[in-house]
C-alpha cells in the first residue's frame, strides 16, 4: 500500500496533524490572525506574535464560529467564518506538508468532535479547494479514537478502553469496546464532555495543579470504577506532561495499561485513511459511534417476482451518506413496511406508513417515489410522493413526510 495519508484532528481549541509516512506531528491553536493593514494571514505562534505586536487581529474558535455561521470584521472587512476556517485549513496543511517533504497526500481524513452533514460538506469543500489534500474524508473523533485503538495489539482492546482528552477548558471522556461474538468485529465508542473541565493555566501554579489532579482523580474514580478496562489513554495538550497529576496517574495505572499520545486523534484519522487508500468504504471492522448508525433499516420489496430485503442503511454506515431513493409500485400493499434492525441486544421494529394519501387508481398504477435519508444518527426521514403512472395517470402533489426515531 503506497500513498501518503494526512490525518487532521480539528477542534475548537487546537488542531493536530499527523502523516502516515513520518512520526513528525503538528499542533496549531485553532485561531487565525489577519494583519491590520493588509490581507495577510498568520497561524500558530506567528499569529500570537503578530497580535502581541499590535499588528494583527486574532479570531479564535473557528470551528464553532463556522457551525454558527458567524462573522468577524477585521480591518473594516467582514469575513464569514467559513472563509476564515478555509484559510486556516489551507495554511496549516500547506505548512505541514512543506515541512514533511512537500508530498501532497493521496488521502486526507479529518476528525471533528461532532459530525453533521453540513460540517462534512463544508470541510470537504474547503480542503478540496486547498489543492493539497487529495481525497478528503470527514469522520468523528469517536471513530478516529476507535481506529487508533484498533491499530494497537489485541490485548489493548480486549476489554474496554477509556480515553481522557484534556485541552483548554475541555475535558472529554471517550469509551470504546469491541463486540467479538459476531462474524465481523464491531467497535463501539461513546463520548461525554465532562463538566469538570478546567483552564490549563491553573497548572502553572502548584495549588492549581493539585486542584486539577484532584478533579481528574474524582472523574477517573467515578468513570473507571467497577468496569474492566484493558487500557486507558491520555491525550490532548493537558496531558503533554502528566507529572502535575500524580494521584490521578496512580489510580489509572493500577491493573491496566496507560498510554499517552498527544496526537492520538490525528494518528487515528491517519489509520482510518489506510482503509480509504485501500479502497474500502468501511474500515476492517464496523464502527458504531458519532457519525455512524447503530441501527440498520431494510425495506421489503419485490423485484423480478422475487422477494428482497432491500438494505436502506446498514449498521455502521455513515448516516449522512445513507438512505435510498427509489420508485416503487405498491401492488396490493396498503402501506410501506420498513424494518428497523438495531444491534442484536435490542428488538427489531416494524415501521408502517399508510399509503392512503395516494389518489384512487387501478391496480399497479399507484407509483410512488420513496426517499429515505437520515437527519442524524438517531432520526430517519421518509418522504413518499405520488409519481403518477406516466401519461396514463399523471402525477399529483400527494405526498407524505415522516420523521422516524430509530431508538424507541
Amino acid at each position: 500500500m503506497s500513498g501518503r495519508i494526512m490525518g487532521i484532528d480539528l477542534c475548537d481549541t487546537g488542531t493536530g496533524i499527523a502523516f502516515s509516512d513520518t512520526e513528525k506531528t503538528f499542533r496549531f491553536p485553532t485561531i487565525i490572525c489577519r494583519d491590520r493593514e493588509k490581507e495577510e494571514w498568520f497561524i500558530g505562534e506567528d499569529a500570537y506574535a503578530h497580535a502581541l505586536n499590535g499588528e494583527g487581529v486574532i479570531t479564535d474558535r473557528l470551528l464553532k464560529l463556522s457551525e454558527n455561521h458567524g462573522t468577524a470584521t477585521i480591518g473594516g472587512i467582514k469575513y464569514d467564518a467559513e472563509t476564515l476556517l478555509k484559510i486556516f485549513l489551507m495554511k496549516i496543511t500547506e505548512k505541514s506538508i512543506a515541512e514533511t517533504g512537500n508530498t501532497v497526500p493521496q488521502e486526507t481524513v479529518v476528525c471533528i468532535p461532532s459530525v453533521t452533514e453540513e460540517a462534512v460538506q463544508k470541510l470537504r469543500l474547503f480542503l478540496d479547494a486547498s489543492g493539497h489534500a487529495g481525497n478528503v474524508h470527514v469522520i468523528s473523533r469517536e471513530e478516529s479514537g476507535i481506529c487508533y485503538c484498533m491499530d494497537q495489539p489485541r490485548e489493548i482492546w480486549n476489554n474496554q478502553i477509556g480515553i481522557f482528552s484534556l485541552s483548554d477548558a475541555v475535558l472529554t471522556y471517550y469509551e470504546m469496546h469491541v463486540i467479538k461474538n459476531r462474524k465481523e468485529m464491531i467497535a463501539c465508542a461513546e463520548s461525554e464532555n465532562l463538566e469538570e473541565a478546567f483552564n490549563l493555566e491553573i497548572l502553572s501554579t502548584q495549588s492549581g495543579a493539585k486542584l486539577a489532579d484532584k478533579i481528574l482523580l474524582s472523574c477517573a474514580e467515578r468513570i473507571l470504577k467497577r468496569k474492566p478496562f484493558s487500557a486507558v489513554m491520555l491525550t490532548g495538550r493537558g496531558f503533554e506532561k502528566y507529572e502535575w497529576a500524580p494521584e490521578f496517574m496512580k489510580y489509572v495505572c493500577s491493573r491496566r495499561k496507560v498510554f499517552q499520545d498527544t496526537d492520538l486523534f490525528a494518528r487515528g484519522a491517519c489509520e482510518r485513511g489506510k482503509d480509504f487508500l485501500a479502497g474500502a468504504a468501511m474500515p476492517r471492522f464496523r464502527c458504531i459511534c458519532d457519525g455512524r448508525l447503530d441501527t440498520g433499516v431494510t425495506l421489503d420489496i419485490e423485484k423480478d417476482g422475487k422477494e428482497l430485503n432491500f438494505p436502506v442503511a446498514n449498521i455502521g454506515d455513515a448516516w449522512y451518506r445513507s438512505g435510498c431513493s427509489m420508485r416503487l409500485i405498491p401492488d396490493n400493499a396498503s402501506e410501506l413496511v420498513m424494518n428497523i434492525v438495531p444491534l442484536e441486544w435490542k428488538k427489531d421494529r416494524i415501521l408502517r406508513i399508510p399509503l392512503s394519501f395516494l389518489p384512487d387508481r387501478p391496480p399497479k398504477t399507484k407509483r410512488i417515489d420513496l426517499h429515505a435519508y437520515f437527519k442524524d444518527g438517531k432520526t430517519m426521514v421518509v418522504e413518499i410522493s405520488d409519481a403518477g403512472f406516466g401519461e396514463l395517470f399523471p402525477k399529483t402533489d400527494a405526498s407524505v413526510k415522516k420523521e422516524v426515531p430509530l431508538w424507541e
Binding site: K306, M326, L328, I329, D331, N332, L392
Partner: protein, 270 residues
Amino acid sequence: MGMILCSSRSAAHPMYIEELGVRLYSLEELCYFIFRYPLLVLDDFTGEPLFEFIHTELGEEELANTLSKLKRDQTTDEDLLCLILKESGFYGSSEVHRYEQQLQALKKLHPAEYMKRKADGLFRLQRFGKAIQLYEKILAMPDDQTVNGAFRGAVYNNIGSCYANLFLTEQAYRAYDRAYGLLKDRAILKRIYFLSLTEPVIELKERYQSMAGDESSMEWDREYEKVRMDVRECEARKKVDAIFERDPVRRMKLASEQIETWKQNFRNML
C-alpha cells in the same frame, strides 16, 4: 404481489399509443397497457418497432432479442405478449395465466364479434372516429349466423352513439334510425328523442313522435331536464366557473388552456 421495485429506466423517446393518446415511458407502463387493453395489442402490436423500443429505450436487450427470435420462428402474438409480462416481473404467474386465457378466448371469437369488441373498447376510450371505422367494416361483412339483423342493429346503434358524441347529430340520427328499424328497441327511440332536444333543428319525425307517445315524451323531458340540472353541479362545470372567477389576465390564460385541452380531446375523438 407486494411492493414492486420499478425499473429506473425512462424512455428518452417514448412509445406513442394512438388509441389512448398517451406515450409510454417505462416497462411498467408498457406491461400495464398490454395487460389492460388486450384488444389493442392483439393485432400488429408485436413487431420490430416494439422490440426496438424494448431494447433501445427500456434497456431490456435480452428480452428484445428473445422476442425478435420468437417472432421470426412464427410464435403467436399471444405468446409474445405473455412473455413480455412474465419477463418484466410486473405481473405474477397467476395474472399472466389469466391474461393468456383471456387472449385465447378473444382469438376464438367470430371475426365480426372480435371486431365489435375492439370497436366497443375504442368507444369506451372515446376514440369515436376509429370505432366508427371498425363498425363500418363489420357492416360490410356478409350475413351469417353471427352477423344477423340483431347484430347489425346493435352495430348501427353504436355508430349512432359515436356520432352523437362527436356532435354529428344528423349522422347519429340516421344510424339510430337504421338501428331502430332492425331492433325496434324503445331505448333507441329515447336516444332519437334526446337528439331532437339537443339539436332542435332536427325535427323528430312524426312517426317516432307517435311511437314514443305523450306519456313517454313527458317522462323523457323530465329525465333530460334532470341531467341538465345535474350538469350544472358537476366538477367540470365548477372548474369552468372557477376560471371565470379569476382576474382578467389569469382568466384569459386559463380559459385558453381549457379550450386547448377540449380541442385536443376532440381531435383525439375523431
